[in-house]
Point group: C2
Chain length 223, copies 2
Protein backbone atom coordinates (compact mmCIF):
# COMPACT_ATOMS: atom_id res chain seq x y z
CA UNK A 1 0.00 0.00 0.00
CA UNK A 2 1.85 3.06 -1.14
CA UNK A 3 1.49 6.27 0.80
CA UNK A 4 0.72 8.96 -1.73
CA UNK A 5 0.65 12.60 -0.89
CA UNK A 6 -1.54 13.86 -3.71
CA UNK A 7 -3.72 10.76 -4.07
CA UNK A 8 -6.88 12.79 -4.63
CA UNK A 9 -5.98 13.61 -8.20
CA UNK A 10 -5.82 9.99 -9.33
CA UNK A 11 -9.51 9.00 -9.53
CA UNK A 12 -10.38 12.32 -11.17
CA UNK A 13 -8.10 11.57 -14.08
CA UNK A 14 -8.55 7.78 -14.23
CA UNK A 15 -12.29 7.18 -13.93
CA UNK A 16 -15.17 9.29 -15.18
CA UNK A 17 -14.99 12.63 -13.37
CA UNK A 18 -18.47 12.59 -11.83
CA UNK A 19 -18.20 9.01 -10.57
CA UNK A 20 -14.89 9.83 -8.88
CA UNK A 21 -16.43 12.78 -7.03
CA UNK A 22 -19.37 10.67 -5.85
CA UNK A 23 -17.08 7.88 -4.68
CA UNK A 24 -14.98 10.39 -2.80
CA UNK A 25 -18.07 11.80 -1.05
CA UNK A 26 -19.27 8.29 -0.13
CA UNK A 27 -15.92 7.51 1.46
CA UNK A 28 -15.91 10.80 3.40
CA UNK A 29 -19.42 10.10 4.74
CA UNK A 30 -18.40 6.59 5.78
CA UNK A 31 -15.22 7.89 7.44
CA UNK A 32 -17.18 10.59 9.34
CA UNK A 33 -19.51 7.87 10.67
CA UNK A 34 -16.72 5.48 11.61
CA UNK A 35 -14.52 8.15 13.24
CA UNK A 36 -17.57 9.34 15.21
CA UNK A 37 -18.33 5.80 16.37
CA UNK A 38 -14.86 4.34 16.90
CA UNK A 39 -12.61 7.38 17.01
CA UNK A 40 -9.88 8.26 14.53
CA UNK A 41 -7.32 5.88 15.95
CA UNK A 42 -9.85 3.07 16.42
CA UNK A 43 -11.61 3.59 13.09
CA UNK A 44 -9.63 1.57 10.55
CA UNK A 45 -9.46 2.14 6.80
CA UNK A 46 -10.81 -1.39 6.45
CA UNK A 47 -13.95 -0.60 8.49
CA UNK A 48 -14.48 2.64 6.56
CA UNK A 49 -13.95 0.92 3.22
CA UNK A 50 -16.17 -2.06 4.09
CA UNK A 51 -19.18 0.22 4.49
CA UNK A 52 -18.88 1.47 0.92
CA UNK A 53 -17.38 -1.64 -0.65
CA UNK A 54 -13.90 -0.19 -1.16
CA UNK A 55 -10.52 -1.57 -0.18
CA UNK A 56 -8.08 0.28 2.12
CA UNK A 57 -5.84 0.65 -0.98
CA UNK A 58 -8.62 2.53 -2.79
CA UNK A 59 -9.01 4.86 0.21
CA UNK A 60 -5.27 5.58 0.15
CA UNK A 61 -5.53 6.19 -3.59
CA UNK A 62 -8.18 8.85 -2.99
CA UNK A 63 -6.80 10.55 0.14
CA UNK A 64 -3.10 9.76 0.25
CA UNK A 65 -3.23 8.49 3.84
CA UNK A 66 -5.57 7.93 6.77
CA UNK A 67 -4.62 11.42 7.97
CA UNK A 68 -5.51 12.83 4.56
CA UNK A 69 -8.94 11.21 4.88
CA UNK A 70 -9.35 12.73 8.36
CA UNK A 71 -8.55 16.18 6.96
CA UNK A 72 -11.16 15.66 4.20
CA UNK A 73 -13.70 14.67 6.88
CA UNK A 74 -12.93 17.76 8.95
CA UNK A 75 -13.16 20.02 5.88
CA UNK A 76 -16.55 18.51 5.07
CA UNK A 77 -17.62 18.97 8.72
CA UNK A 78 -16.64 22.65 8.49
CA UNK A 79 -18.75 23.12 5.36
CA UNK A 80 -21.74 21.25 6.82
CA UNK A 81 -21.72 23.13 10.13
CA UNK A 82 -21.16 26.49 8.44
CA UNK A 83 -24.46 25.97 6.62
CA UNK A 84 -26.42 25.96 9.86
CA UNK A 85 -24.34 28.65 11.55
CA UNK A 86 -26.49 31.46 12.85
CA UNK A 87 -28.43 32.83 9.87
CA UNK A 88 -27.58 36.50 9.42
CA UNK A 89 -25.03 36.39 12.25
CA UNK A 90 -27.17 38.61 14.55
CA UNK A 91 -25.41 41.25 16.69
CA UNK A 92 -24.98 41.41 20.48
CA UNK A 93 -27.45 39.54 22.67
CA UNK A 94 -29.58 38.45 19.70
CA UNK A 95 -26.80 36.06 18.81
CA UNK A 96 -27.12 34.21 22.09
CA UNK A 97 -30.93 34.29 21.99
CA UNK A 98 -30.78 32.42 18.66
CA UNK A 99 -28.69 29.57 20.10
CA UNK A 100 -31.44 27.20 21.28
CA UNK A 101 -32.68 26.92 17.68
CA UNK A 102 -29.27 25.51 16.74
CA UNK A 103 -29.84 22.65 19.16
CA UNK A 104 -32.51 21.45 16.70
CA UNK A 105 -29.80 20.93 14.14
CA UNK A 106 -27.74 18.94 16.64
CA UNK A 107 -30.69 16.73 17.54
CA UNK A 108 -31.22 16.05 13.83
CA UNK A 109 -27.51 15.54 13.08
CA UNK A 110 -26.40 13.36 15.93
CA UNK A 111 -23.49 11.94 13.92
CA UNK A 112 -22.00 15.37 13.25
CA UNK A 113 -22.05 16.11 16.97
CA UNK A 114 -20.62 12.73 17.89
CA UNK A 115 -17.79 13.19 15.42
CA UNK A 116 -16.86 16.56 16.89
CA UNK A 117 -16.94 15.44 20.53
CA UNK A 118 -15.06 12.22 19.81
CA UNK A 119 -12.36 14.08 17.86
CA UNK A 120 -12.16 16.76 20.61
CA UNK A 121 -11.73 14.16 23.37
CA UNK A 122 -9.12 12.23 21.34
CA UNK A 123 -7.30 15.46 20.51
CA UNK A 124 -6.55 16.00 24.21
CA UNK A 125 -3.61 13.82 23.13
CA UNK A 126 -0.98 16.29 21.86
CA UNK A 127 0.01 13.94 19.03
CA UNK A 128 -3.49 13.63 17.56
CA UNK A 129 -3.71 14.77 13.93
CA UNK A 130 -6.98 16.64 14.55
CA UNK A 131 -5.56 18.60 17.51
CA UNK A 132 -4.68 21.73 15.58
CA UNK A 133 -8.05 21.74 13.80
CA UNK A 134 -9.96 21.35 17.08
CA UNK A 135 -7.86 24.00 18.84
CA UNK A 136 -8.42 26.42 15.96
CA UNK A 137 -12.15 25.70 16.02
CA UNK A 138 -12.39 26.48 19.77
CA UNK A 139 -10.25 29.62 19.37
CA UNK A 140 -12.53 30.86 16.57
CA UNK A 141 -15.67 30.18 18.60
CA UNK A 142 -14.24 31.98 21.64
CA UNK A 143 -13.25 34.93 19.46
CA UNK A 144 -16.60 35.16 17.67
CA UNK A 145 -18.76 34.79 20.79
CA UNK A 146 -16.68 37.16 22.94
CA UNK A 147 -17.06 39.77 20.17
CA UNK A 148 -20.87 39.36 20.42
CA UNK A 149 -20.89 39.70 24.21
CA UNK A 150 -18.51 42.69 24.04
CA UNK A 151 -20.93 44.27 21.57
CA UNK A 152 -23.81 43.65 24.02
CA UNK A 153 -21.79 45.42 26.76
CA UNK A 154 -20.96 48.39 24.51
CA UNK A 155 -24.60 48.68 23.40
CA UNK A 156 -25.74 48.67 27.02
CA UNK A 157 -27.74 45.46 26.54
CA UNK A 158 -26.00 43.92 29.54
CA UNK A 159 -24.15 45.24 32.61
CA UNK A 160 -20.46 46.18 32.37
CA UNK A 161 -18.12 43.20 32.15
CA UNK A 162 -14.33 43.22 32.05
CA UNK A 163 -12.50 41.52 29.16
CA UNK A 164 -11.53 38.74 31.55
CA UNK A 165 -15.14 38.27 32.62
CA UNK A 166 -16.32 38.22 29.00
CA UNK A 167 -13.90 35.44 28.12
CA UNK A 168 -14.80 33.47 31.26
CA UNK A 169 -18.52 33.77 30.47
CA UNK A 170 -18.02 32.55 26.89
CA UNK A 171 -15.76 29.65 27.87
CA UNK A 172 -18.33 28.51 30.44
CA UNK A 173 -21.12 28.80 27.86
CA UNK A 174 -19.18 26.69 25.35
CA UNK A 175 -18.52 24.19 28.16
CA UNK A 176 -22.26 23.98 28.91
CA UNK A 177 -23.08 23.22 25.27
CA UNK A 178 -20.34 20.58 24.88
CA UNK A 179 -21.05 18.99 28.25
CA UNK A 180 -24.82 18.80 27.92
CA UNK A 181 -24.54 17.42 24.40
CA UNK A 182 -22.19 14.75 25.75
CA UNK A 183 -24.79 13.74 28.37
CA UNK A 184 -27.45 13.65 25.66
CA UNK A 185 -25.29 11.48 23.37
CA UNK A 186 -24.71 9.14 26.32
CA UNK A 187 -28.44 8.56 26.44
CA UNK A 188 -29.59 10.87 29.25
CA UNK A 189 -33.28 11.62 28.96
CA UNK A 190 -33.22 15.34 28.50
CA UNK A 191 -34.80 17.91 26.24
CA UNK A 192 -31.68 19.42 24.73
CA UNK A 193 -33.36 22.45 23.23
CA UNK A 194 -35.42 23.30 26.28
CA UNK A 195 -32.52 22.84 28.72
CA UNK A 196 -30.29 25.12 26.64
CA UNK A 197 -33.09 27.67 26.14
CA UNK A 198 -33.55 27.88 29.91
CA UNK A 199 -29.83 28.15 30.50
CA UNK A 200 -29.42 30.92 27.91
CA UNK A 201 -32.36 32.81 29.46
CA UNK A 202 -30.78 32.56 32.92
CA UNK A 203 -27.38 33.57 31.63
CA UNK A 204 -28.74 36.64 29.83
CA UNK A 205 -30.71 37.64 32.95
CA UNK A 206 -27.50 37.35 35.00
CA UNK A 207 -25.53 39.37 32.42
CA UNK A 208 -28.22 42.05 32.59
CA UNK A 209 -28.30 42.28 36.39
CA UNK A 210 -25.54 44.09 38.27
CA UNK A 211 -25.02 40.78 40.04
CA UNK A 212 -22.52 39.85 37.38
CA UNK A 213 -20.18 42.35 38.98
CA UNK A 214 -19.92 40.11 42.02
CA UNK A 215 -17.77 37.93 39.77
CA UNK A 216 -14.89 40.25 40.27
CA UNK A 217 -15.14 39.85 44.06
CA UNK A 218 -15.38 36.11 43.62
CA UNK A 219 -12.24 36.08 41.52
CA UNK A 220 -10.27 38.27 43.90
CA UNK A 221 -11.11 35.92 46.72
CA UNK A 222 -9.26 33.12 44.96
CA UNK A 223 -5.64 32.39 45.87
CA UNK B 1 -4.38 -16.42 21.86
CA UNK B 2 -7.10 -18.04 23.94
CA UNK B 3 -9.80 -15.86 25.38
CA UNK B 4 -10.00 -16.74 29.05
CA UNK B 5 -12.75 -15.55 31.29
CA UNK B 6 -11.05 -15.96 34.65
CA UNK B 7 -7.53 -15.11 33.46
CA UNK B 8 -6.71 -13.10 36.56
CA UNK B 9 -6.28 -16.15 38.72
CA UNK B 10 -3.45 -17.58 36.62
CA UNK B 11 -0.49 -15.39 37.61
CA UNK B 12 -1.54 -15.47 41.28
CA UNK B 13 -1.17 -19.22 41.38
CA UNK B 14 1.71 -19.61 38.91
CA UNK B 15 4.21 -16.94 39.91
CA UNK B 16 5.04 -15.52 43.33
CA UNK B 17 1.89 -13.82 44.66
CA UNK B 18 3.36 -10.36 45.28
CA UNK B 19 5.11 -10.16 41.93
CA UNK B 20 1.89 -11.07 40.14
CA UNK B 21 -0.01 -8.29 41.92
CA UNK B 22 2.66 -5.73 41.01
CA UNK B 23 2.72 -6.83 37.38
CA UNK B 24 -1.05 -6.58 37.23
CA UNK B 25 -0.94 -3.03 38.64
CA UNK B 26 1.77 -2.04 36.12
CA UNK B 27 -0.37 -3.28 33.25
CA UNK B 28 -3.46 -1.44 34.54
CA UNK B 29 -1.47 1.82 34.81
CA UNK B 30 -0.12 1.38 31.29
CA UNK B 31 -3.61 0.60 29.95
CA UNK B 32 -5.11 3.66 31.69
CA UNK B 33 -2.43 5.81 30.01
CA UNK B 34 -2.87 4.27 26.58
CA UNK B 35 -6.70 4.31 26.67
CA UNK B 36 -6.55 7.97 27.77
CA UNK B 37 -4.19 8.82 24.92
CA UNK B 38 -5.48 6.65 22.07
CA UNK B 39 -8.93 5.61 23.24
CA UNK B 40 -10.08 2.09 24.04
CA UNK B 41 -10.57 1.04 20.44
CA UNK B 42 -7.35 2.73 19.28
CA UNK B 43 -5.24 1.60 22.23
CA UNK B 44 -3.94 -1.87 21.29
CA UNK B 45 -2.81 -4.59 23.68
CA UNK B 46 0.55 -4.39 21.93
CA UNK B 47 1.00 -0.70 22.74
CA UNK B 48 -0.08 -1.28 26.34
CA UNK B 49 2.22 -4.28 26.70
CA UNK B 50 5.20 -2.55 25.06
CA UNK B 51 5.25 0.13 27.78
CA UNK B 52 5.75 -2.48 30.49
CA UNK B 53 7.67 -5.07 28.47
CA UNK B 54 4.83 -7.60 28.29
CA UNK B 55 3.34 -9.40 25.29
CA UNK B 56 -0.36 -9.17 24.32
CA UNK B 57 -0.60 -12.87 25.32
CA UNK B 58 0.53 -12.00 28.84
CA UNK B 59 -2.12 -9.28 29.07
CA UNK B 60 -4.80 -11.76 28.00
CA UNK B 61 -3.45 -14.19 30.61
CA UNK B 62 -3.95 -11.57 33.33
CA UNK B 63 -7.26 -10.02 32.24
CA UNK B 64 -8.97 -12.58 30.01
CA UNK B 65 -9.56 -10.10 27.19
CA UNK B 66 -9.06 -6.48 26.20
CA UNK B 67 -12.50 -5.78 27.62
CA UNK B 68 -11.47 -7.42 30.89
CA UNK B 69 -8.48 -5.07 31.02
CA UNK B 70 -10.77 -2.08 30.40
CA UNK B 71 -12.99 -3.17 33.29
CA UNK B 72 -9.92 -3.42 35.54
CA UNK B 73 -8.87 0.09 34.45
CA UNK B 74 -12.34 1.48 35.22
CA UNK B 75 -12.42 -0.26 38.62
CA UNK B 76 -9.03 1.25 39.44
CA UNK B 77 -10.28 4.65 38.23
CA UNK B 78 -13.28 4.34 40.58
CA UNK B 79 -10.99 3.59 43.54
CA UNK B 80 -8.58 6.43 42.68
CA UNK B 81 -11.29 9.04 42.23
CA UNK B 82 -13.20 7.90 45.34
CA UNK B 83 -10.09 8.76 47.38
CA UNK B 84 -10.31 12.43 46.44
CA UNK B 85 -14.11 12.57 46.54
CA UNK B 86 -15.32 15.34 48.79
CA UNK B 87 -13.81 14.65 52.24
CA UNK B 88 -16.61 14.23 54.77
CA UNK B 89 -19.28 14.53 52.04
CA UNK B 90 -20.51 17.95 53.34
CA UNK B 91 -24.27 18.65 53.32
CA UNK B 92 -26.29 21.06 51.18
CA UNK B 93 -24.52 24.09 49.72
CA UNK B 94 -21.23 23.26 51.47
CA UNK B 95 -20.85 20.41 49.03
CA UNK B 96 -20.82 22.76 46.06
CA UNK B 97 -18.59 25.29 47.82
CA UNK B 98 -15.96 22.56 48.22
CA UNK B 99 -15.88 21.78 44.48
CA UNK B 100 -13.15 24.18 43.32
CA UNK B 101 -10.68 22.41 45.61
CA UNK B 102 -11.31 19.22 43.63
CA UNK B 103 -10.06 20.98 40.50
CA UNK B 104 -6.62 20.86 42.13
CA UNK B 105 -6.75 17.10 41.95
CA UNK B 106 -7.69 17.24 38.29
CA UNK B 107 -4.84 19.60 37.48
CA UNK B 108 -2.45 17.19 39.24
CA UNK B 109 -3.97 14.07 37.67
CA UNK B 110 -4.38 15.05 34.08
CA UNK B 111 -4.25 11.44 32.89
CA UNK B 112 -7.19 10.42 35.08
CA UNK B 113 -9.28 13.21 33.61
CA UNK B 114 -8.21 12.45 30.05
CA UNK B 115 -9.13 8.79 30.50
CA UNK B 116 -12.61 9.68 31.72
CA UNK B 117 -13.38 12.21 28.98
CA UNK B 118 -11.99 9.97 26.23
CA UNK B 119 -14.02 7.00 27.46
CA UNK B 120 -17.15 9.18 27.82
CA UNK B 121 -16.81 10.52 24.27
CA UNK B 122 -16.17 7.02 22.85
CA UNK B 123 -19.09 5.64 24.85
CA UNK B 124 -21.49 7.85 22.89
CA UNK B 125 -21.27 4.79 20.62
CA UNK B 126 -23.96 2.41 21.97
CA UNK B 127 -21.72 -0.62 21.39
CA UNK B 128 -18.81 0.67 23.48
CA UNK B 129 -17.89 -1.67 26.35
CA UNK B 130 -17.50 1.27 28.78
CA UNK B 131 -20.94 2.70 27.96
CA UNK B 132 -22.77 1.14 30.90
CA UNK B 133 -20.00 2.16 33.31
CA UNK B 134 -20.04 5.75 32.07
CA UNK B 135 -23.84 5.94 32.12
CA UNK B 136 -23.91 4.56 35.68
CA UNK B 137 -21.24 7.06 36.73
CA UNK B 138 -23.25 10.02 35.37
CA UNK B 139 -26.49 8.70 36.92
CA UNK B 140 -24.76 8.39 40.31
CA UNK B 141 -23.33 11.89 40.08
CA UNK B 142 -26.71 13.35 39.11
CA UNK B 143 -28.38 11.50 42.00
CA UNK B 144 -25.76 12.52 44.58
CA UNK B 145 -25.59 16.19 43.54
CA UNK B 146 -29.35 16.63 43.18
CA UNK B 147 -29.71 15.25 46.73
CA UNK B 148 -27.30 17.96 47.94
CA UNK B 149 -29.16 20.74 46.14
CA UNK B 150 -32.53 19.39 47.38
CA UNK B 151 -31.10 19.48 50.90
CA UNK B 152 -30.05 23.12 50.37
CA UNK B 153 -33.62 23.95 49.28
CA UNK B 154 -35.15 22.15 52.28
CA UNK B 155 -32.73 23.88 54.68
CA UNK B 156 -33.64 27.24 53.21
CA UNK B 157 -30.06 27.84 52.02
CA UNK B 158 -31.35 28.62 48.52
CA UNK B 159 -34.67 29.74 47.02
CA UNK B 160 -37.38 27.19 46.23
CA UNK B 161 -36.63 25.02 43.18
CA UNK B 162 -38.83 22.37 41.61
CA UNK B 163 -37.50 18.83 41.16
CA UNK B 164 -37.19 19.50 37.45
CA UNK B 165 -35.23 22.68 38.09
CA UNK B 166 -32.92 20.88 40.50
CA UNK B 167 -32.07 18.23 37.93
CA UNK B 168 -31.56 20.84 35.21
CA UNK B 169 -29.23 22.86 37.47
CA UNK B 170 -27.15 19.78 38.30
CA UNK B 171 -26.93 18.57 34.72
CA UNK B 172 -25.75 22.01 33.62
CA UNK B 173 -23.18 22.09 36.44
CA UNK B 174 -21.80 18.69 35.42
CA UNK B 175 -21.70 19.93 31.82
CA UNK B 176 -19.68 22.99 32.87
CA UNK B 177 -17.10 20.85 34.67
CA UNK B 178 -16.76 18.34 31.78
CA UNK B 179 -16.71 21.04 29.13
CA UNK B 180 -14.23 23.35 30.81
CA UNK B 181 -11.92 20.44 31.60
CA UNK B 182 -12.08 19.45 27.93
CA UNK B 183 -10.99 22.97 26.90
CA UNK B 184 -8.19 22.83 29.46
CA UNK B 185 -7.00 19.42 28.20
CA UNK B 186 -7.02 20.84 24.67
CA UNK B 187 -4.47 23.39 25.81
CA UNK B 188 -6.60 26.50 26.44
CA UNK B 189 -4.79 28.91 28.73
CA UNK B 190 -7.16 29.03 31.63
CA UNK B 191 -6.99 28.83 35.41
CA UNK B 192 -9.22 25.81 35.95
CA UNK B 193 -9.64 26.26 39.69
CA UNK B 194 -10.33 29.96 39.53
CA UNK B 195 -12.77 29.71 36.63
CA UNK B 196 -14.75 26.99 38.42
CA UNK B 197 -14.61 28.88 41.75
CA UNK B 198 -16.11 31.94 40.06
CA UNK B 199 -18.74 29.87 38.32
CA UNK B 200 -19.76 28.06 41.54
CA UNK B 201 -19.98 31.44 43.36
CA UNK B 202 -22.23 32.81 40.60
CA UNK B 203 -24.38 29.71 40.54
CA UNK B 204 -24.89 29.74 44.32
CA UNK B 205 -25.76 33.45 44.20
CA UNK B 206 -28.33 32.70 41.51
CA UNK B 207 -29.77 29.78 43.50
CA UNK B 208 -30.09 32.09 46.50
CA UNK B 209 -31.83 34.89 44.64
CA UNK B 210 -35.48 34.62 43.75
CA UNK B 211 -34.33 35.13 40.17
CA UNK B 212 -33.99 31.38 39.83
CA UNK B 213 -37.79 31.24 39.76
CA UNK B 214 -37.73 32.95 36.40
CA UNK B 215 -36.54 29.57 35.12
CA UNK B 216 -40.06 28.29 35.29
CA UNK B 217 -41.21 31.12 33.05
CA UNK B 218 -38.34 30.43 30.70
CA UNK B 219 -39.29 26.77 30.47
CA UNK B 220 -42.98 27.43 29.92
CA UNK B 221 -42.09 29.71 27.07
CA UNK B 222 -40.50 26.79 25.23
CA UNK B 223 -42.52 24.80 22.69
Amino acid sequence: MEDRVAGEATPLTRGPYRKGIERREQIIRSAAEVFGELGYIGGSLRTIGDRVGASPATLIQYFGSKEGLLMAVLDEWTIQTAQWAMPGDPPGLEYFRAMPAIMEFHVDHRGTLELFLTMAAEATNPDHPAREFIQRRYAETVRHWTAKLRQAVVNGEVAALTEEQIEAEIRILIAVLDGIELQWLLGAELDLRRLIATHIDQTITRWQSTQSNSLETGQLRMP
